[in-house]
């Protein structure tokens, strides 16, 4: 049975991870809340002043015979595009995972805060 088909809008067909953006001495540091996402499933593209992170979160079965009682974590494809106030072409990108947070460093040449 299907009840109460109330309708909500979503602007995209995938989920978006939360992100913090830091200004650093050498450029920018972006933190993404991407726990449970394998680094090989993530791809980052930089174009102009935009930085886009996309990828996949896959669930895995912890043990046999378990089933969902409730679910709040978003799985499947995610994508997030951020706009920074400077041109990022030629910037050096470093990706590092730490404790479920994905750290993305952007080192801009000749940029001094």
């Amino acid at each position: 049975m299907v009840f109460g088909a109330a309708i909500h809008r979503s602007s995209e067909a995938f989920w978006q991870p939360a992100a913090d953006i830091y200004r650093t001495r050498s450029g920018w540091l972006v933190k993404y809340d991407l726990a449970g996402v394998r680094t090989e499933d993530i791809e980052v593209t930089v174009a102009g002043s935009q930085i886009t992170i996309g990828g996949f979160r896959r669930d895995w079965r912890l043990e046999d015979g378990c089933s969902h009682y409730s679910m709040e974590i978003s799985y499947n494809r995610f994508e997030r595009t951020l706009e920074l106030p400077c041109d990022l072409d030629g910037a050096e990108v470093k990706v590092e995972g730490r404790d479920g947070i994905l750290l993305l460093r952007l080192i801009c040449q000749g940029e001094k805060p």
């Binding site: 299907v2 809008r9 969902h68 499947n76």
Partner: protein
């Protein structure tokens, strides 16, 4: 993620009545076993993907492939929670459009082999135009549903160049039918989906515009009413503040209280309840409010059932009547008879009496003493000069200032429904274009109709049948026949001298002394003095002038007392001049001598009887007959009949025939200024004519009355008592009456009857024989020869 050939196998979630579009978040409560199994299967995968397909028919519980549309949407389960009763709540996010290639049963749920079905991303000016148009239409439509979201939508559509996304985002916002939504999802090209969306939206917009128009109309009507209501509430609050209570409510509460206490017939109570409910809904500023309130006040106050209990004690009633009025045997007997009937049959109809008589004989006060004798309330209404029917019957409530009729008002004043109700001067009702009050009286005075008398103002039947109606009149001539028919006539003829003396001694003198503050011992008036007052200072059938004269004497005595001369005074006939001034009428009005051609007649007037002289004279070389003295038609005709009789009997009367040819005749009846009419002067005129032609004078001590016929018969007339009393007043002791009036002499008081000499005539000859002595001798001589 899709495989290389883009084909996937995913669990199927069929949904009812709606379509999940890509980019759309849809919360769902899932209770169907098969659906729950499908969702659980999807949750067990890494990707949490599921295919959502709309069901063609919402009533099918376990749909097969043919029950499902072949194009659906791949979705990701974003959130999930289990609720009690085995219901699963999920939030689904539409990802992309897919086509179902094949469905397989997997336990209780189904899986589908699916392939993405993306719309070809083409661009054209048509798409561009449609895109903008759809965006604009959607914004306009949304403005009518959700104005605050419209601007946001405009920004969104303006910024987005992706027409597919636009259609998918807009589609769920308007509650489109399932087949329309599905058609949008299935549209093969971008242009097609935009076109579909455009047509749906323009239809939707029309409907919405119409709805909002209707709604705003209703709104404006409502807001006007609401405004009034609000103001009225404020007014009420102000009134409450000012008076400390709610005047309107308390009025209605008071009315209700009175209503509950009042003893009302059922139909009246119902009517009042109805009006009260109406009143409660009226604002007290409305003119109707006051009309209705006054009406209700009146209704509640009317004595619908209240009645005084009759005191049926016949000896007491007789005593009361005798105390208040002298003589009037006939009337008193009638009242007592009615009392007797009431005693045996308490529900008897009240009679409707009519007292006829000259002024001052006590008609009105008799009504009061009847009420006293019966122990009923007394109400009086003068009809004199009334010429508007509405005065009696009231105005309908719809008129401004409408009032109940005088009858109902009097009943309310009385406070009981069985008063003695006196309608004075019923002979002096007028009538004009406003209606005829006499006709309204017909209903009021008819015992068969007045049980349900309907006053225009009340508009409810009121029972007048318990009311004891008494009407009074001075003459019957002006009362319409139908009205006269309804009433029982009781004549109150004038009083004789003896009766007046009695009345003066019993009632008038004590009353006048009391009014001037004297003790009975302070002032005495002898019988002779009273007789002198009656004869020389008054001329009336009643006793009003007499009472005034006594009042004058009493005031003069009171003045003396006030000046300190406190000795008792006795008024005698001799010193009346000092008390009342010179005598105003003299018995000398009786002519000492009558020349030939003058006869004494008796007339009945509204003020009693009167003596009048008929004068006839011959006019040498004159012609015909002249009649003067304001004679009415009947009287003129009876003069002609008298002359014709004399002329035709000239030989027997010893009259030379050529007298009629050579002389004209003139008849005059003083006083010339007073109109006279009626047939009762017939014998008098015949006598006067016989006297003038024979030159024999008429006896001065003889008066006469009677109608004549051409053949010389004498017919009876009315008002015998008044006429005899008038003759006696001027000192005439011999009266010629029609034989048939002999029975009327019983009305006369004993002493009068004894004192007078009556001659009863059957033919004119008898009259002439008695009135003209010489003619009598002539007749005797003729008989002898």
């Amino acid at each position: 993620m899709s495989n290389a050939d883009n084909v996937q196998i995913l669990p199927v979630l069929p949904i009812k009545n709606t379509v999940l579009f890509p980019y759309m978040l849809m919360p769902l409560s899932v209770g169907r076993k098969s659906s729950i199994a499908a969702i659980e299967a999807a949750l067990a995968t890494e990707e949490k993907e599921i295919v959502v397909v709309a069901q063609r028919d919402a009533s099918v519980e376990s749909p097969a492939l043919t029950d499902l549309y072949s194009i659906g949407t791949k979705a990701v389960i974003k959130k999930m929670a289990r609720k009690p009763e085995g219901v699963l709540e999920v939030v689904l996010l539409g990802v992309e459009r897919v086509v179902l290639i094949k469905i397989e049963q997997q336990g209780i749920y189904q899986t589908a082999r699916i392939k993405p079905l993306p719309l070809p991303q083409d661009k054209s000016t048509e798409i561009e135009a449609l895109h903008r148009e759809v965006g604009e239409l959607a914004a306009r439509a949304l403005e009518l549903i959700q104005p605050q979201a419209a601007d946001e939508l405009r920004r969104l559509t303006a910024g987005s160049k992706d027409s597919v996304k636009l259609v998918y985002t807009l589609a769920p916002m308007f509650s489109l039918d399932l087949d329309k939504e599905q058609a949008l999802l299935e549209a093969p090209t971008v242009a097609e989906s935009l076109r579909l969306m455009h047509s749906y939206l323009s239809h939707e917009l029309q409907v919405l515009e119409l709805r909002s128009k209707i709604a705003s109309q209703a709104q404006s009507e409502m807001s006007k009413e609401q405004r009034e209501y609000l103001l009225r509430q404020q007014l009420r609050a102000i009134q409450k503040e000012l008076s400390g209570e709610n005047p309107e409510e308390s009025e209605i509460v008071l009315l209700r209280e009175r209503l509950s206490k009042a003893d009302l017939p059922e139909d009246v109570r119902k009517e009042i309840e109805r009006e009260l409910t109406k009143l409660e809904r009226l604002p007290n500023s409305s003119p109707d409010y006051h009309v209705t309130r006054t009406y209700l006040d009146f209704l509640v106050e009317l004595p619908w059932k209240a009645a005084t209990e009759d005191v049926i004690d016949i000896s007491r009633a007789r005593q009361v009547l005798d105390e208040d009025h002298y003589d009037l045997r006939e009337v008193k007997e009638r009242i007592l008879e009615h009392l007797g009937v009431l005693k045996l049959n308490p529900s008897a109809k009240s009679p409707i009496l009519c007292f006829v008589g000259p002024p001052g004989v006590g008609k009105t006060s008799l009504g009061q003493s009847i009420a006293r004798a019966l122990g009923r309330k007394f109400e009086r209404l003068s009809l004199g000069g009334m010429h508007d029917e509405a005065e009696l019957r009231g105005h309908r409530r719809t008129y401004i200032g409408a009032m109940p009729g005088r009858v109902i008002q009097a009943i309310r004043r009385a406070g009981v429904n069985n008063p003695v109700f006196m309608l004075d001067e019923v002979d002096k009702i007028g009538y004009d274009f406003r209606g005829d009050p006499a006709s309204a009286l017909l209903e009021i005075l008819d015992p068969e109709q007045n049980r349900t008398f309907r006053d225009n103002y009340l508009d409810l039947p009121f029972d007048l049948s318990k009311v004891f109606f008494i009407t009074t009149a001075n003459t019957l001539d002006t009362i319409p026949r139908p009205l006269l028919d309804r009433m029982e006539l009781l004549r109150l003829p004038g009083y004789s001298e003896e009766e007046k003396v009695e009345i003066a001694k019993r009632y008038l003198i004590p009353r006048q002394l009391k009014e001037t503050g004297l003790a009975p011992a302070d002032c005495g008036i002898t019988d002779d003095a009273l007789k002198a007052i009656i004869a020389q200072y008054t001329r009336e059938a009643g006793v009003r002038q007499l009472e005034r004269a006594i009042g004058r004497i009493a005031r003069k005595v009171a003045l003396r007392h006030a000046e300190g001369h406190t000795e008792a005074v006795t008024v005698t006939a001799n010193d009346l001049v000092t008390w009342l001034g010179p005598r105003r009428f003299s018995p000398e009005q009786r002519r000492k001598q009558l020349p030939a051609g003058v006869a004494t007649g008796l007339a009945w007037t509204e003020t009693g009887g009167d003596v009048l002289y008929v004068e006839a004279t011959l006019l040498p070389n004159g012609r015909g007959m002249t009649l003067t003295g304001q004679l009415g038609e009947v009287m003129q005709e009876s003069a002609r009949a008298a002359q014709s009789y004399i002329w035709s009997h000239a030989e027997e009367l010893g009259i030379a025939r050529d007298l009629f040819r050579k002389y004209g005749v003139h008849i005059h009846v003083p006083s010339g200024a007073i109109p006279k009419d009626g047939p009762s002067a017939g014998v008098t005129m015949a006598t006067a004519l016989a006297s003038v032609y024979t030159k024999y004078p008429v006896r001065v001590d003889t008066a006469m009355t009677g109608e004549i016929t051409l053949t010389g018969l004498v017919l009876p007339v009315g008002g015998i008592k008044e006429k005899v009393l008038a003759a006696r007043r001027v000192g005439i002791k011999r009266v010629i009456l029609p034989l048939e009036n002999k029975k009327d002499l019983t009305e006369l008081p004993e002493p009068v009857a004894k004192e007078m000499e009556f001659i009863f005539a059957e033919k004119i000859e008898d009259v002439l024989n008695a009135a003209i002595p010489q003619l009598g001798e002539h007749f005797a001589a003729r008989r002898a020869s």
